[in-house]
Amino acid sequence: MATVTVRNVWKEYGPQVVLENLRLEIADHEFVTIVGASGCGKTTFLKMLLGMEQPSRGQILIDGVPIRPEPDPDRGVVFQRYSSFPHLTVVENVMLGLELRDAKLSGRLFGAARRKARAAALAMLESVGLGAAADRYPAQLSGGMQQRMSIAQAVIRKPKILLLDEPFGALDPGVTADMHELILRLWEENRMTIFMVSHDIQESFQLGTRLLTFDKLRVDPQSPEAYGASVTYDMPLSRRPKPKTLPS
Protein backbone atom coordinates (compact mmCIF):
# COMPACT_ATOMS: atom_id res chain seq x y z
CA MET A 1 0.00 0.00 0.00
CA ALA A 2 1.82 3.08 -1.14
CA THR A 3 1.07 6.12 -3.18
CA VAL A 4 3.99 8.26 -4.26
CA THR A 5 3.88 12.00 -4.77
CA VAL A 6 6.73 13.79 -6.49
CA ARG A 7 6.32 17.48 -5.82
CA ASN A 8 8.32 19.86 -8.05
CA VAL A 9 11.56 17.93 -7.69
CA TRP A 10 14.80 19.29 -9.11
CA LYS A 11 18.20 17.67 -9.02
CA GLU A 12 21.27 19.76 -9.70
CA TYR A 13 24.97 19.03 -9.37
CA GLY A 14 26.52 22.49 -9.26
CA PRO A 15 25.66 24.20 -12.56
CA GLN A 16 24.50 20.94 -14.12
CA VAL A 17 20.76 20.39 -14.03
CA VAL A 18 19.91 16.69 -14.20
CA LEU A 19 16.20 16.71 -13.51
CA GLU A 20 13.91 19.67 -13.61
CA ASN A 21 10.52 20.16 -12.08
CA LEU A 22 9.28 16.60 -11.84
CA ARG A 23 5.63 16.39 -10.84
CA LEU A 24 4.04 12.99 -10.50
CA GLU A 25 1.20 11.31 -8.67
CA ILE A 26 1.66 7.56 -8.58
CA ALA A 27 -1.32 5.49 -7.44
CA ASP A 28 -1.07 2.53 -5.11
CA HIS A 29 -0.06 -0.78 -6.71
CA GLU A 30 1.10 0.90 -9.88
CA PHE A 31 3.86 -0.73 -11.95
CA VAL A 32 5.78 2.26 -13.26
CA THR A 33 8.32 1.64 -15.98
CA ILE A 34 10.84 4.34 -16.81
CA VAL A 35 12.69 4.61 -20.09
CA GLY A 36 14.91 7.23 -21.64
CA ALA A 37 18.32 7.85 -23.15
CA SER A 38 21.31 7.23 -20.94
CA GLY A 39 22.30 10.18 -18.80
CA CYS A 40 18.80 11.58 -18.69
CA GLY A 41 18.33 11.11 -14.98
CA LYS A 42 16.38 7.84 -14.75
CA THR A 43 18.78 6.33 -12.28
CA THR A 44 19.08 9.62 -10.40
CA PHE A 45 15.32 9.62 -9.98
CA LEU A 46 15.45 6.07 -8.65
CA LYS A 47 18.24 7.01 -6.27
CA MET A 48 16.15 9.85 -4.92
CA LEU A 49 13.19 7.52 -4.38
CA LEU A 50 15.58 5.19 -2.57
CA GLY A 51 17.03 7.94 -0.40
CA MET A 52 20.58 7.53 -1.74
CA GLU A 53 20.37 11.06 -3.14
CA GLN A 54 18.35 14.04 -2.00
CA PRO A 55 16.40 16.36 -4.30
CA SER A 56 17.99 19.80 -4.65
CA ARG A 57 14.50 21.29 -4.53
CA GLY A 58 11.07 19.87 -4.02
CA GLN A 59 9.82 16.88 -2.10
CA ILE A 60 9.00 13.21 -2.51
CA LEU A 61 6.20 11.78 -0.36
CA ILE A 62 5.08 8.22 0.27
CA ASP A 63 1.47 7.99 1.44
CA GLY A 64 1.62 11.73 2.04
CA VAL A 65 4.68 11.57 4.30
CA PRO A 66 8.07 12.94 3.16
CA ILE A 67 10.49 10.07 2.56
CA ARG A 68 13.36 9.49 4.93
CA PRO A 69 16.62 10.87 3.52
CA GLU A 70 18.27 7.44 3.66
CA PRO A 71 17.33 3.94 2.52
CA ASP A 72 14.90 2.06 4.74
CA PRO A 73 12.88 -1.20 4.60
CA ASP A 74 9.82 0.56 3.14
CA ARG A 75 11.68 0.78 -0.15
CA GLY A 76 13.24 -2.44 -1.44
CA VAL A 77 15.72 -2.45 -4.29
CA VAL A 78 17.16 -4.76 -6.92
CA PHE A 79 20.22 -3.49 -8.74
CA GLN A 80 21.61 -4.83 -11.96
CA ARG A 81 24.60 -6.33 -10.11
CA TYR A 82 26.51 -6.53 -6.83
CA SER A 83 23.54 -6.46 -4.53
CA SER A 84 23.95 -9.92 -3.04
CA PHE A 85 26.22 -10.74 -0.14
CA PRO A 86 28.98 -13.05 -1.37
CA HIS A 87 29.79 -14.41 2.10
CA LEU A 88 26.27 -15.70 2.71
CA THR A 89 24.63 -18.68 1.08
CA VAL A 90 21.51 -18.10 -0.99
CA VAL A 91 19.14 -18.90 1.85
CA GLU A 92 21.19 -16.81 4.28
CA ASN A 93 21.02 -13.91 1.84
CA VAL A 94 17.24 -14.11 1.83
CA MET A 95 17.01 -14.64 5.61
CA LEU A 96 19.15 -11.61 6.31
CA GLY A 97 16.25 -9.16 6.10
CA LEU A 98 14.29 -11.14 8.70
CA GLU A 99 17.31 -11.48 10.98
CA LEU A 100 18.03 -7.76 10.82
CA ARG A 101 14.41 -7.01 11.65
CA ASP A 102 14.14 -9.38 14.61
CA ALA A 103 17.62 -9.31 16.15
CA LYS A 104 18.50 -5.68 16.61
CA LEU A 105 21.65 -6.24 18.64
CA SER A 106 23.31 -9.29 17.13
CA GLY A 107 21.71 -9.16 13.69
CA ARG A 108 21.53 -12.93 13.94
CA LEU A 109 18.74 -15.30 14.95
CA PHE A 110 19.22 -18.51 16.89
CA GLY A 111 17.23 -21.64 17.73
CA ALA A 112 13.54 -21.71 16.97
CA ALA A 113 13.45 -18.14 15.65
CA ARG A 114 16.23 -19.00 13.24
CA ARG A 115 14.49 -22.13 12.03
CA LYS A 116 11.32 -20.12 11.45
CA ALA A 117 13.15 -17.43 9.47
CA ARG A 118 14.96 -20.11 7.48
CA ALA A 119 11.67 -21.81 6.65
CA ALA A 120 10.19 -18.51 5.49
CA ALA A 121 13.27 -17.85 3.35
CA LEU A 122 13.14 -21.33 1.87
CA ALA A 123 9.46 -20.87 1.01
CA MET A 124 10.33 -17.58 -0.67
CA LEU A 125 13.14 -19.28 -2.61
CA GLU A 126 10.77 -22.07 -3.69
CA SER A 127 8.38 -19.46 -5.05
CA VAL A 128 11.12 -17.87 -7.17
CA GLY A 129 12.34 -21.30 -8.30
CA LEU A 130 15.59 -21.36 -6.37
CA GLY A 131 14.74 -24.02 -3.78
CA ALA A 132 17.44 -26.36 -5.03
CA ALA A 133 20.17 -23.71 -4.83
CA ALA A 134 19.48 -22.65 -1.23
CA ASP A 135 22.84 -23.73 0.18
CA ARG A 136 25.06 -22.50 -2.62
CA TYR A 137 26.96 -19.23 -2.63
CA PRO A 138 25.82 -16.43 -4.97
CA ALA A 139 29.06 -16.67 -6.98
CA GLN A 140 28.07 -20.20 -7.94
CA LEU A 141 24.78 -19.05 -9.49
CA SER A 142 24.09 -17.89 -13.04
CA GLY A 143 23.15 -14.26 -13.64
CA GLY A 144 19.43 -15.04 -13.84
CA MET A 145 19.51 -17.07 -10.62
CA GLN A 146 21.38 -14.27 -8.86
CA GLN A 147 18.66 -11.81 -9.85
CA ARG A 148 15.96 -14.21 -8.63
CA MET A 149 17.75 -14.38 -5.32
CA SER A 150 18.10 -10.63 -5.20
CA ILE A 151 14.38 -10.20 -5.83
CA ALA A 152 13.48 -12.78 -3.18
CA GLN A 153 15.83 -11.02 -0.76
CA ALA A 154 14.12 -7.68 -1.36
CA VAL A 155 10.53 -8.94 -1.34
CA ILE A 156 10.77 -10.96 1.88
CA ARG A 157 10.88 -7.70 3.89
CA LYS A 158 7.53 -6.79 2.25
CA PRO A 159 8.53 -3.30 1.08
CA LYS A 160 5.76 -0.90 0.15
CA ILE A 161 7.75 0.13 -2.89
CA LEU A 162 10.12 -1.97 -4.95
CA LEU A 163 12.73 -0.19 -7.05
CA LEU A 164 14.31 -2.06 -9.94
CA ASP A 165 17.34 -0.56 -11.67
CA GLU A 166 17.67 -2.34 -15.00
CA PRO A 167 17.32 -5.65 -13.16
CA PHE A 168 17.23 -7.78 -16.29
CA GLY A 169 19.66 -5.75 -18.37
CA ALA A 170 22.49 -8.24 -18.10
CA LEU A 171 20.43 -11.39 -18.69
CA ASP A 172 19.89 -13.62 -21.72
CA PRO A 173 16.60 -13.02 -23.57
CA GLY A 174 15.24 -16.47 -22.69
CA VAL A 175 15.87 -15.90 -19.01
CA THR A 176 14.28 -12.46 -19.15
CA ALA A 177 10.86 -13.84 -20.07
CA ASP A 178 10.82 -16.04 -16.97
CA MET A 179 11.88 -13.10 -14.87
CA HIS A 180 9.03 -10.98 -16.20
CA GLU A 181 6.55 -13.62 -15.15
CA LEU A 182 8.16 -13.82 -11.72
CA ILE A 183 8.14 -10.10 -11.06
CA LEU A 184 4.51 -9.72 -12.17
CA ARG A 185 3.45 -12.55 -9.87
CA LEU A 186 5.29 -11.07 -6.88
CA TRP A 187 3.83 -7.66 -7.70
CA GLU A 188 0.30 -9.11 -7.61
CA GLU A 189 0.88 -11.20 -4.49
CA ASN A 190 2.53 -8.49 -2.42
CA ARG A 191 0.60 -5.46 -3.66
CA MET A 192 3.77 -3.42 -3.99
CA THR A 193 4.17 -0.26 -6.00
CA ILE A 194 7.00 -0.90 -8.43
CA PHE A 195 9.33 1.50 -10.21
CA MET A 196 11.47 -0.10 -12.87
CA VAL A 197 14.17 1.63 -14.90
CA SER A 198 14.80 -0.17 -18.16
CA HIS A 199 16.50 0.40 -21.46
CA ASP A 200 14.22 -2.14 -23.13
CA ILE A 201 11.16 -0.35 -24.50
CA GLN A 202 9.28 -3.54 -25.28
CA GLU A 203 9.81 -4.80 -21.75
CA SER A 204 8.57 -1.51 -20.37
CA PHE A 205 5.35 -1.66 -22.34
CA GLN A 206 4.84 -5.29 -21.47
CA LEU A 207 5.32 -5.02 -17.71
CA GLY A 208 4.15 -1.56 -16.77
CA THR A 209 0.77 -0.17 -15.90
CA ARG A 210 2.21 3.26 -16.46
CA LEU A 211 5.17 4.23 -18.58
CA LEU A 212 7.29 7.32 -18.12
CA THR A 213 9.87 8.53 -20.59
CA PHE A 214 12.55 10.89 -19.38
CA ASP A 215 14.12 13.35 -21.77
CA LYS A 216 15.21 16.94 -22.01
CA LEU A 217 12.43 19.34 -22.89
CA ARG A 218 14.83 22.08 -23.94
CA VAL A 219 18.42 21.92 -25.09
CA ASP A 220 20.81 24.85 -25.19
CA PRO A 221 23.54 23.82 -27.65
CA GLN A 222 25.95 26.36 -26.09
CA SER A 223 25.62 24.85 -22.64
CA PRO A 224 24.01 21.41 -22.70
CA GLU A 225 24.03 21.19 -18.90
CA ALA A 226 21.78 24.22 -18.46
CA TYR A 227 18.52 22.32 -18.76
CA GLY A 228 17.62 19.04 -17.13
CA ALA A 229 15.41 16.17 -18.15
CA SER A 230 11.80 15.81 -17.21
CA VAL A 231 8.96 13.46 -17.97
CA THR A 232 8.17 13.83 -21.67
CA TYR A 233 5.57 11.06 -21.99
CA ASP A 234 3.38 9.69 -19.24
CA MET A 235 1.28 6.83 -20.55
CA PRO A 236 -1.17 4.70 -18.68
CA LEU A 237 -0.98 1.18 -20.08
CA SER A 238 -3.74 -1.33 -20.03
CA ARG A 239 -2.36 -4.77 -19.45
CA ARG A 240 -3.02 -6.97 -22.40
CA PRO A 241 -3.83 -10.63 -21.82
CA LYS A 242 -0.71 -12.74 -21.71
CA PRO A 243 0.31 -13.95 -25.18
CA LYS A 244 -0.42 -17.61 -25.64
CA THR A 245 2.60 -19.84 -25.96
CA LEU A 246 3.14 -20.83 -29.55
CA PRO A 247 2.07 -24.34 -30.49
CA SER A 248 5.11 -26.47 -30.97
Binding site: L50, M52, E70, P71, D72, P73, R75, G76, V77, F79, R81, Y82, S83, S84, F85, P86, H87, L88, L96, G97, E99, L100, R101, K104, L105, S106, G107, R108, Y137, A139, Q153, A154, R157, P159
Partner: protein
Protein backbone atom coordinates in the same frame (compact mmCIF):
# COMPACT_ATOMS: atom_id res chain seq x y z
CA UNK B 1 56.70 -27.63 -30.01
CA UNK B 2 54.31 -25.71 -27.80
CA UNK B 3 55.16 -22.25 -26.55
CA UNK B 4 56.99 -22.02 -23.24
CA UNK B 5 53.94 -20.41 -21.64
CA UNK B 6 51.89 -23.51 -22.43
CA UNK B 7 54.32 -26.14 -21.17
CA UNK B 8 53.22 -27.13 -17.69
CA UNK B 9 55.32 -29.44 -15.51
CA UNK B 10 53.51 -32.50 -14.13
CA UNK B 11 52.90 -32.89 -10.42
CA UNK B 12 56.09 -34.82 -9.70
CA UNK B 13 58.18 -32.70 -12.03
CA UNK B 14 56.81 -29.54 -10.47
CA UNK B 15 57.73 -30.76 -7.01
CA UNK B 16 61.20 -31.76 -8.16
CA UNK B 17 61.73 -28.35 -9.75
CA UNK B 18 60.70 -26.66 -6.52
CA UNK B 19 63.11 -28.71 -4.41
CA UNK B 20 65.98 -28.37 -6.84
CA UNK B 21 67.19 -24.88 -5.85
CA UNK B 22 67.21 -25.86 -2.17
CA UNK B 23 69.39 -28.88 -2.88
CA UNK B 24 71.64 -26.81 -5.12
CA UNK B 25 72.14 -24.25 -2.34
CA UNK B 26 72.92 -26.97 0.18
CA UNK B 27 75.42 -28.66 -2.12
CA UNK B 28 77.11 -25.33 -2.86
CA UNK B 29 77.38 -24.67 0.87
CA UNK B 30 78.86 -28.10 1.60
CA UNK B 31 81.45 -27.73 -1.15
CA UNK B 32 82.43 -24.20 -0.14
CA UNK B 33 82.63 -25.19 3.50
CA UNK B 34 84.76 -28.21 2.65
CA UNK B 35 87.19 -26.12 0.60
CA UNK B 36 87.61 -23.50 3.34
CA UNK B 37 88.04 -26.09 6.09
CA UNK B 38 90.61 -27.97 4.01
CA UNK B 39 92.68 -24.80 3.94
CA UNK B 40 92.14 -23.84 7.58
CA UNK B 41 90.51 -26.34 9.97
CA UNK B 42 89.77 -23.52 12.46
CA UNK B 43 87.75 -21.50 9.93
CA UNK B 44 84.50 -20.26 11.52
CA UNK B 45 82.74 -18.72 8.54
CA UNK B 46 81.34 -21.84 6.87
CA UNK B 47 81.22 -24.58 9.53
CA UNK B 48 80.70 -28.17 8.41
CA UNK B 49 77.16 -29.55 8.63
CA UNK B 50 78.28 -31.95 11.36
CA UNK B 51 79.56 -29.08 13.46
CA UNK B 52 76.30 -27.18 13.02
CA UNK B 53 74.34 -30.28 14.02
CA UNK B 54 76.34 -30.86 17.18
CA UNK B 55 76.08 -27.20 18.23
CA UNK B 56 72.38 -27.23 17.52
CA UNK B 57 72.06 -30.39 19.59
CA UNK B 58 73.74 -28.74 22.54
CA UNK B 59 71.48 -25.70 22.26
CA UNK B 60 68.25 -27.59 21.77
CA UNK B 61 68.64 -30.76 23.81
CA UNK B 62 71.21 -30.06 26.53
CA UNK B 63 70.83 -27.75 29.48
CA UNK B 64 72.97 -24.66 29.39
CA UNK B 65 75.68 -24.88 32.07
CA UNK B 66 75.12 -21.38 33.38
CA UNK B 67 71.32 -21.08 33.34
CA UNK B 68 70.27 -24.73 33.40
CA UNK B 69 67.86 -24.11 30.52
CA UNK B 70 67.65 -25.36 26.98
CA UNK B 71 68.50 -22.10 25.27
CA UNK B 72 67.02 -22.85 21.87
CA UNK B 73 63.54 -23.46 23.26
CA UNK B 74 63.76 -20.57 25.72
CA UNK B 75 64.64 -18.27 22.81
CA UNK B 76 61.92 -19.67 20.57
CA UNK B 77 59.24 -19.35 23.22
CA UNK B 78 60.27 -15.78 24.09
CA UNK B 79 60.19 -14.68 20.45
CA UNK B 80 56.95 -16.42 19.61
CA UNK B 81 55.27 -14.90 22.65
CA UNK B 82 56.33 -11.42 21.56
CA UNK B 83 55.42 -11.76 17.91
CA UNK B 84 52.17 -13.57 18.76
CA UNK B 85 50.95 -10.88 21.15
CA UNK B 86 51.98 -8.18 18.71
CA UNK B 87 50.04 -9.83 15.87
CA UNK B 88 46.92 -10.23 17.99
CA UNK B 89 47.07 -6.59 19.13
CA UNK B 90 47.80 -5.33 15.61
CA UNK B 91 44.99 -7.34 14.06
CA UNK B 92 42.50 -6.08 16.65
CA UNK B 93 43.61 -2.48 16.27
CA UNK B 94 43.65 -2.81 12.50
CA UNK B 95 40.13 -4.17 12.27
CA UNK B 96 38.66 -1.65 14.71
CA UNK B 97 40.29 1.31 12.96
CA UNK B 98 39.49 0.02 9.49
CA UNK B 99 35.82 -0.53 10.24
CA UNK B 100 35.54 2.89 11.89
CA UNK B 101 37.29 4.63 9.04
CA UNK B 102 35.66 2.60 6.30
CA UNK B 103 32.08 2.77 7.54
CA UNK B 104 31.57 5.98 9.51
CA UNK B 105 32.34 9.14 7.47
CA UNK B 106 32.88 11.26 10.60
CA UNK B 107 35.45 8.82 11.96
CA UNK B 108 37.10 8.74 8.56
CA UNK B 109 37.44 12.52 8.61
CA UNK B 110 38.83 12.35 12.15
CA UNK B 111 41.23 9.42 11.88
CA UNK B 112 42.32 8.84 8.29
CA UNK B 113 44.86 11.72 8.13
CA UNK B 114 46.33 10.75 11.51
CA UNK B 115 46.65 7.11 10.52
CA UNK B 116 48.22 8.05 7.20
CA UNK B 117 50.83 10.11 9.04
CA UNK B 118 51.58 7.53 11.73
CA UNK B 119 52.06 4.88 9.07
CA UNK B 120 54.86 6.99 7.61
CA UNK B 121 56.92 7.16 10.83
CA UNK B 122 59.87 4.77 10.46
CA UNK B 123 59.25 2.50 13.47
CA UNK B 124 62.95 1.91 14.15
CA UNK B 125 63.46 5.65 14.48
CA UNK B 126 61.18 5.74 17.51
CA UNK B 127 62.55 2.55 19.05
CA UNK B 128 64.69 4.59 21.47
CA UNK B 129 61.58 6.53 22.49
CA UNK B 130 59.80 3.25 23.18
CA UNK B 131 62.69 1.97 25.29
CA UNK B 132 62.84 5.24 27.22
CA UNK B 133 59.11 5.48 27.82
CA UNK B 134 58.16 1.83 28.19
CA UNK B 135 61.39 0.46 29.64
CA UNK B 136 63.47 -2.40 28.33
CA UNK B 137 60.91 -5.10 29.14
CA UNK B 138 58.48 -6.90 26.87
CA UNK B 139 56.12 -3.95 26.36
CA UNK B 140 58.55 -1.91 24.30
CA UNK B 141 59.36 -4.82 21.98
CA UNK B 142 55.72 -5.67 21.39
CA UNK B 143 54.93 -1.98 20.94
CA UNK B 144 57.60 -1.69 18.24
CA UNK B 145 56.06 -4.50 16.21
CA UNK B 146 52.57 -3.10 16.69
CA UNK B 147 53.63 0.39 15.62
CA UNK B 148 55.39 -1.17 12.67
CA UNK B 149 52.53 -3.24 11.29
CA UNK B 150 49.19 -2.09 12.77
CA UNK B 151 48.90 1.13 10.69
CA UNK B 152 49.57 -0.80 7.49
CA UNK B 153 47.01 -3.45 8.38
CA UNK B 154 44.47 -0.76 9.29
CA UNK B 155 45.00 1.15 6.05
CA UNK B 156 44.88 -1.99 3.95
CA UNK B 157 41.66 -3.14 5.59
CA UNK B 158 40.08 0.32 5.39
CA UNK B 159 40.72 0.22 1.64
CA UNK B 160 39.06 -3.17 1.50
CA UNK B 161 36.00 -1.83 3.31
CA UNK B 162 35.91 0.99 0.78
CA UNK B 163 35.96 -1.55 -2.03
CA UNK B 164 32.72 -3.16 -0.90
CA UNK B 165 30.21 -2.34 -3.65
CA UNK B 166 27.97 0.58 -2.73
CA UNK B 167 25.02 -1.53 -3.88
CA UNK B 168 25.66 -3.93 -0.99
CA UNK B 169 25.64 -1.17 1.58
CA UNK B 170 22.42 0.30 0.16
CA UNK B 171 20.82 -3.13 -0.08
CA UNK B 172 21.61 -3.85 3.56
CA UNK B 173 19.92 -0.59 4.56
CA UNK B 174 16.81 -1.44 2.58
CA UNK B 175 16.76 -4.72 4.50
CA UNK B 176 16.66 -2.64 7.68
CA UNK B 177 20.30 -2.81 8.79
CA UNK B 178 21.43 -0.28 11.40
CA UNK B 179 25.05 0.89 11.26
CA UNK B 180 25.93 -1.67 13.93
CA UNK B 181 24.13 -4.51 12.15
CA UNK B 182 25.77 -3.50 8.88
CA UNK B 183 29.20 -3.79 10.50
CA UNK B 184 28.33 -7.08 12.14
CA UNK B 185 26.65 -8.89 9.27
CA UNK B 186 28.02 -7.30 6.09
CA UNK B 187 31.39 -5.62 6.70
CA UNK B 188 33.19 -7.78 9.26
CA UNK B 189 32.44 -11.18 7.71
CA UNK B 190 33.84 -9.95 4.42
CA UNK B 191 36.86 -8.45 6.17
CA UNK B 192 38.14 -11.63 7.87
CA UNK B 193 39.72 -13.22 4.80
CA UNK B 194 41.29 -9.86 3.94
CA UNK B 195 42.67 -9.67 7.46
CA UNK B 196 44.40 -13.00 6.96
CA UNK B 197 45.92 -11.78 3.69
CA UNK B 198 47.02 -8.61 5.42
CA UNK B 199 48.61 -10.53 8.30
CA UNK B 200 50.45 -12.79 5.88
CA UNK B 201 51.93 -9.76 4.17
CA UNK B 202 52.87 -8.20 7.51
CA UNK B 203 54.73 -11.26 8.81
CA UNK B 204 58.00 -10.20 7.19
CA UNK B 205 57.96 -6.77 8.83
CA UNK B 206 56.85 -8.27 12.13
CA UNK B 207 59.91 -10.53 12.25
CA UNK B 208 62.14 -7.66 11.18
CA UNK B 209 60.97 -5.46 14.05
CA UNK B 210 61.08 -8.33 16.52
CA UNK B 211 64.68 -9.17 15.74
CA UNK B 212 65.66 -5.51 15.77
CA UNK B 213 64.12 -5.02 19.20
CA UNK B 214 65.67 -8.21 20.55
CA UNK B 215 69.08 -7.37 19.17
CA UNK B 216 69.14 -4.07 21.02
CA UNK B 217 67.74 -4.92 24.43
CA UNK B 218 66.87 -8.41 25.53
CA UNK B 219 68.03 -11.34 27.61
CA UNK B 220 66.56 -14.08 25.49
CA UNK B 221 64.95 -14.55 22.10
CA UNK B 222 65.98 -15.75 18.68
CA UNK B 223 67.17 -12.33 17.53
CA UNK B 224 69.00 -11.75 20.81
CA UNK B 225 70.91 -15.03 20.46
CA UNK B 226 71.98 -14.33 16.91
CA UNK B 227 73.36 -10.94 17.79
CA UNK B 228 74.96 -12.25 20.99
CA UNK B 229 76.98 -15.02 19.33
CA UNK B 230 77.92 -12.76 16.43
CA UNK B 231 80.76 -11.51 18.63
CA UNK B 232 82.33 -14.97 18.50
CA UNK B 233 81.67 -15.44 14.78
CA UNK B 234 79.56 -18.45 15.84
CA UNK B 235 78.11 -19.22 12.45
CA UNK B 236 77.31 -22.70 13.74
CA UNK B 237 74.68 -21.06 15.97
CA UNK B 238 73.56 -18.27 13.67
CA UNK B 239 72.84 -20.44 10.64
CA UNK B 240 70.46 -22.94 12.33
CA UNK B 241 68.73 -20.05 14.08
CA UNK B 242 68.14 -18.29 10.76
CA UNK B 243 66.86 -21.52 9.23
CA UNK B 244 64.56 -21.99 12.22
CA UNK B 245 63.17 -18.44 11.99
CA UNK B 246 62.55 -18.94 8.29
CA UNK B 247 60.83 -22.24 8.99
CA UNK B 248 58.61 -20.65 11.63
CA UNK B 249 57.66 -17.88 9.21
CA UNK B 250 56.92 -20.34 6.41
CA UNK B 251 54.78 -22.49 8.71
CA UNK B 252 52.82 -19.47 9.99
CA UNK B 253 52.18 -18.38 6.43
CA UNK B 254 51.02 -21.86 5.49
CA UNK B 255 48.75 -22.08 8.54
CA UNK B 256 47.14 -18.74 7.69
CA UNK B 257 46.64 -19.81 4.09
CA UNK B 258 44.99 -23.06 5.11
CA UNK B 259 42.81 -21.27 7.65
CA UNK B 260 41.61 -18.87 4.97
CA UNK B 261 40.78 -21.66 2.55
CA UNK B 262 38.97 -23.70 5.18
CA UNK B 263 37.08 -20.99 7.02
CA UNK B 264 36.18 -18.71 4.11
CA UNK B 265 35.28 -21.02 1.29
CA UNK B 266 33.19 -18.28 -0.34
CA UNK B 267 36.25 -16.03 -0.70
CA UNK B 268 38.35 -18.59 -2.56
CA UNK B 269 38.80 -17.92 -6.26
CA UNK B 270 36.80 -20.25 -8.47
CA UNK B 271 38.81 -23.12 -9.88
Amino acid sequence: MRRLINQHPGRAAGLALGVLPFIALLVMYVIASHLRLAENPDDKLLPALGKIASTFHSYAFEEDKRSGQMLFWVDTWASLKRIGSALVISATLGVVLAVGIGVVPRLRALLAPLLGTIAMIPPLAILPVLFIVLGLEETAKIALIVIGIAPCIARDLALRVGELPKEQIIKAQTLGASTWQLILRVVLPQLWPRLIDSLRLSMGSAWLFLIAAEAIASTEGLGYRIFLVRRYLAMDVILPYVVWITLLAVLTDLALRVLRARAFRWAEPER
